[in-house]
């Protein structure tokens, strides 16, 4: 007997008892749905994290120099030397100085604006574009020029889009706006990436409270060499300080990896719990198949009397169980996509972050395969029982 015959027999049986089949499938449906949504959520979270880090740059290393006591510190030149000594690894470098001084534009004080001192290379390193005017120049850094580049938010909100040549105040100092950074984000908001001011790091260091530069951002030629780059900087700094507590080098890709593996672990645990429901669903199928074998003892007897070999009976019942659970799997997949879409909407509305619950094809294929497999595994025992019924006993059963 061909498999296609068993399949159409199975479909007929399933169709003739829709309610029972549906209830039997429920465990599988819920299990598959849960696995898909959870894996999709994990996938969405990883995408979200990756995108967030893409903004920071996964090819970026940040060296924070705390120094040892007040005795020794590192000069900007020494830090540049590290990069130029390993020009095959490092692409560019910018000291960064964050200022917390009050910004004043006319009589207004935007209080969420980030103010950062950077080098002439910084915009290139970050892939920031200048939409009008110019960026920070080397001559600005050398001359400690009181010039700045502002973000789109400030340009639109305080200067009606034409800020070039106008001035703003940071703390006690007045700066001339020489350029506008093109919007980085879709929604240009207060406190966002586009609510920013960049000035030469030398100027920033002078007006900062400590007067020293403690943070340096390096970009790598190859983002896969974050580990190597990190070691190079650490070794160089160790030669200067002879104390590994005097500095830290942070690799964004390392943080990304750590966060990804954390998310992965949580997802695996949750998906594992959801998978238990698949097993429970499988047991449900086995249970109903055993009932079905008992109910259909006479049918089995008749089929055997008419010449059905054991393996045909076996095939019929395994096929029925597999079809039931595969159908459950398919419904679970559909449900999983539905719930994922709803969850995406809910997360966007409630959390105000754009985490897209995106079911992966791998998870979908796996869930379907596992559910069909469960049908075969848990259908095997009832099918075996059916196949081994004695035809005489089965014929006289009522």
């Amino acid at each position: 007997m061909k498999l296609s015959e068993s399949f159409s027999l199975a479909i007929r049986t399933i169709v003739s008892r829709k309610m029972r089949t549906f209830l039997t499938m429920l465990g599988i449906i819920i299990g598959v749905m849960a696995v898909i949504v959870i894996v999709g959520l994990g996938n969405g979270m990883q995408n979200y994290i990756r995108e967030s880090f893409a903004d920071l740059g996964t090819n970026t290393l940040t060296a924070m120099v705390m120094g040892r006591g007040s005795s020794r510190s590192v000069s900007v030149d020494q830090m540049y030397e590290i990069a130029s000594d390993h020009a095959d690894k490092f692409d560019a470098l910018s000291p960064t100085v964050s200022l917390s001084d009050t910004v004043r534009i006319g009589d207004k004080t935007p209080d969420e604006t980030t103010v950062t001192g950077v080098s002439e290379d910084y915009f290139g390193m970050k892939d920031y574009e200048i939409s009008s005017g110019r960026g920070i120049w080397y001559s600005d850094v050398m001359g400690r020029g009181k010039v700045c580049v502002i973000g789109e938010y400030l340009a639109n909100t305080y200067f009606d889009g034409s800020p070039i040549g106008q001035t703003l105040r940071i703390g006690a100092n007045r700066f001339t706006i020489v350029g506008v950074m093109a919007a980085e984000t879709d929604d240009v908001d207060e406190g966002g990436t586009d609510d920013c001011i960049f000035l030469p790091y030398s100027t920033a260091a002078r007006i900062s409270y400590t007067g020293t530069i403690t943070s340096f951002t390096y970009t790598l030629k190859d983002e896969n060499e974050a580990e190597t780059g990190k070691t190079i900087i650490e070794n160089a700094l160790y030669l200067i300080f002879e104390d590994s507590n005097a500095y830290t080098v942070i690799s964004n890709s390392e943080i990304l990896d750590t966060m990804n593996s954390m998310v992965n672990m949580i997802i695996y645990v949750l998906a594992g719990i959801a998978a238990i429901s698949l097993v429970v669903g499988g047991i449900g199928i086995m249970n109903i198949m055993l009932v079905s074998v008992t109910e259909r003892t006479q049918e089995i007897g008749i089929r055997k009397a008419l010449g059905a070999k054991e393996r045909y009976i076996m095939q019929q019942f395994v096929m029925e169980a597999a079809t039931t659970s595969a159908l459950g799997g398919a419904l679970g997949i559909a449900g999983g996509y539905l719930v994922s879409a709803v969850a995406t909407k809910v997360i966007t509305a409630v959390l105000d972050t754009a985490i897209t619950v995106a079911p992966t094809m791998g998870a979908v294929a796996l869930a379907f395969g596992v559910s069909a497999g469960i049908g075969i595994a848990f259908g095997y025992l009832p099918a075996k029982k059916a196949a081994q019924l004695n035809p005489i006993d089965a014929l006289h059963y009522d």
């Binding site: 007929r12 003739s16 055997k304 009397a305 010449g307």
Partner: protein, 246 residues
Amino acid sequence: MEQALIEFQNVCKTYVMGDATVRAADQISFQIGRGEFVAIVGKSGSGKSTCMNIIGCLDIPTSGNYLLNGHNVGQMNKNELAAIRNKMLGFVFQQYNLLPKLSLLENVEIPLMYAGVAREERKQRAKTALEQVGLGDKLRNRPNQLSGGQQQRVSIARALVGRPAVILADEPTGALDSRTSREVLQMLKDVHAAGNTVVLITHDNSIAMQAQRIIRLEDGCVVYDGDAHEPEAVVQPRAAGTGGNP
């Protein structure tokens, strides 16, 4: 001499029930040739169903040999028995034993499906078989939409469709009134007339007499084997018993 179609050689079947052993078939020997119409009769518990199960390859003898078309059934495994049932035997049961969820056509197709006949040919042959028993207009009906007599005709169609060597009918009229019983019997006679070997199992002498030959069983033994129209065939020959004394 031509090879007999069905040959019992000292067939015994014993059932062990706790301490007691029941000899349901006790040294039964007979031969049935091709094209015969034989009735196996006997009282309740005489061993008719036991014989029928063995003839039908649903069961194998405890001892002795059963040769079907020269093949020793006792030495076959379950798969071979299933294949033999499928190709050599057509069953007609007392309770019709049709599958209620399938149409008449699909019911009649079953033996062909297990024989591996392709779908189209299967449908065609099942249709022809149903037409033969006068149900060509009810192919799509379910068994429960039919009268008992009609259902029994479907089961005759199902028995015939695989062109088996033997039609085996176990109390085929047991659940029918006398008029439909006659119809069904007539149909079996027609089947026989068309050249088939028919073995009819019944406890009812008047039905057994429709056959050509009667094999009478008593307590698991053959007490009469011969022409259905001899007076001894129906009169229970206790005194002249050829066996069967307790």
